[in-house]
């Protein structure tokens, strides 16, 4: 019988297994994960799980019962350490060999390690164990220093404030938060948000070192400031978990290099989904690697289709979508944003907290949006981008659609 082995048992891996069954895959499916807890979801780790309002059960992706019912063999607790393509098998650390006809690599990413060492009290947030350790540390109180003002850093700072910490600082060498995805004029709105909520922001300064002192930690900044800390969270990006493939002959380049079908450029039996996949986006004409939950899910469906329909291969050409929940704000990005793109802001009903920023290219064509606290504008932008993927719409037209998505003002209650 045919056998698909999926390595990595988080959202990319789990959704691939489920989508294979949904597509009628008749063979065996083995889902291999290095952690010994049942598969769980990552976004809540910096939000509800850290805040204590979610539990392992509520963030679970696949119970043992559901796996058994779907004919998915869960192989947990031992990492894959080698891929032997000659023998068509994956070798696990515990010595097991898992034979495959199709192999799906879904090993995700891990936090970029702290360049300042990891004395006690320095945390990252990627796994359930990380989130639990950080939650325990935050319960003991501050001060908290978050290094990195990307999504995860900002969410951790917001959650910590919600837990009652009153001494939270975010440090980032860039002059604004979210600088990878937003242009400074727009990103500065989120700097103001942190300040208004009571998080101190130290933007435009770098960290020089993190020292252990008898009372806890000290974070040295390159302007000479020293910040005392009980806990430091380092959120400076992620690197793909592709090193276990090093001697396999599978090409990697900051991720597993794949064609438009999400199939390894080195081996037609090997596929990659989620944060570890660097595939050729036919719409953008370049390879890309996304660290977005929705991409992992959509890519899983494409790969499952392609494994089950080898003669009707489907390209993966998604409209990028990522959300971030910070304080009581819902921040959502669709398509391409930031960089050199032109932008126009459209106010929602309460412009202080609801607005959209539309991004357009040099021909005034709509290519992406930032939407904050405005669900109908989000839907409008996602719909338009999905439908105009090959022929982008004039941004003026989208501006009108978004204006029309503004809900009627409500009397203050």
């Amino acid at each position: 019988m045919a056998r698909t082995v999926i390595v990595g048992a988080s959202v990319g891996g789990v959704r691939t297994a489920q989508a294979l069954r949904a597509a009628g895959y008749p063979g065996e499916i083995a889902l291999i994960g290095d952690e010994d807890v049942p598969p769980y979801d990552k976004p809540p780790l910096s939000k509800a799980l850290l805040a204590g309002t979610a539990t392992l059960d509520s963030v679970g992706l696949l119970t043992a019962e559901a796996a058994a019912a779907a004919g998915i063999e869960l192989v947990l607790g031992s990492p894959a350490t080698r891929l032997d393509r000659k023998q068509h098998q994956v070798l696990l650390a515990d010595g097991t060999a898992e034979p495959y006809d199709a192999l799906v690599i879904a090993t995700g990413a891990r936090p970029r390690p702290s360049p300042w060492g990891t004395p006690r009290g320095v945390h990252v947030v990627r796994t359930l164990a990380d989130a639990r350790a950080l939650a325990a540390a935050l319960r003991a109180g501050g001060p908290l220093v978050v290094v990195g003002a990307g999504f995860i850093g900002a969410e951790v700072a917001a959650t910590a404030l919600g837990l009652g910490l009153d001494d939270v600082t975010v440090v980032d060498p860039m002059s604004v938060p979210l600088s990878r995805v937003l242009n400074p004029e727009v990103a500065t709105i989120f700097g103001t948000l942190h300040a208004e909520r009571g998080v101190s922001a130290r933007f435009g300064v770098g960290v020089t070192d993190i020292r252990e002192i008898p009372a806890g930690l000290e974070v040295g900044l390159d302007d000479g400031t020293v910040l005392p800390a009980a806990t430091v969270v380092v959120g400076i990006g992620a690197v793909p978990n592709d090193d276990w493939l090093a001697d396999s002959g599978i090409a990697t380049e900051d991720g597993v290099l794949c064609d438009r079908f999400c199939r390894s450029v080195s081996d037609p039996h090997v596929w990659a989904v989620g944060d570890v996949s660097r595939w050729w986006h036919p719409g953008h004409g370049q390879t890309m690697r996304l660290e977005h939950w929705t991409n992992a899910v959509e890519q899983a469906v494409v790969v499952a289709h392609n494994i089950t329909h080898p003669h009707e291969l489907r390209s993966h050409a998604p409209v990028e979508y990522v959300w971030s929940d910070q304080y009581d704000w819902k921040i959502q990005l669709v398509g391409r944003t930031g960089g050199e793109l032109a932008h126009v802001r459209v106010d929602g009903t309460n412009p202080h907290r609801s607005f959209a920023v539309l991004y357009s290219d040099e021909s005034d064509r709509f290519v992406g949006a930032l939407v904050v606290n405005w669900p109908k504008a989000l839907i409008t932008c996602r719909r338009v981008l999905t439908k105009t993927a090959t022929e982008p719409a004039p941004v003026g037209q989208v501006h009108t659609l978004v204006e029309n998505a503004r809900p009627p003002a409500r009397a203050a209650s």
Partner: protein, 65 residues
């Protein structure tokens, strides 16, 4: 036939369901899912299940009628 059920308290308005099946799901001004229909013909089931599985907070289920 199958039926769709939505957990309105869990919904966070991420809108993946609308992108997956806009004939079945919409989102209101408060960002809460609206079911445009609740019974799903068998021919649509796989597609609607896929849309439901794309919900980041698992607020949607498809069940046998």
């Amino acid at each position: 036939m199958a039926v769709v059920k939505a957990d309105l308290a869990a919904c966070q308005g991420y809108a993946n369901c609308v992108v997956g099946a806009e004939d079945v799901f919409d989102i209101d001004d408060d960002g809460i899912v609206v079911l445009l229909k609740t019974t799903i013909p068998d021919a649509d089931r796989t597609r609607v299940e896929e849309a439901a599985r794309s919900c980041p907070v698992s607020a949607l289920v498809i069940e046998d009628d």
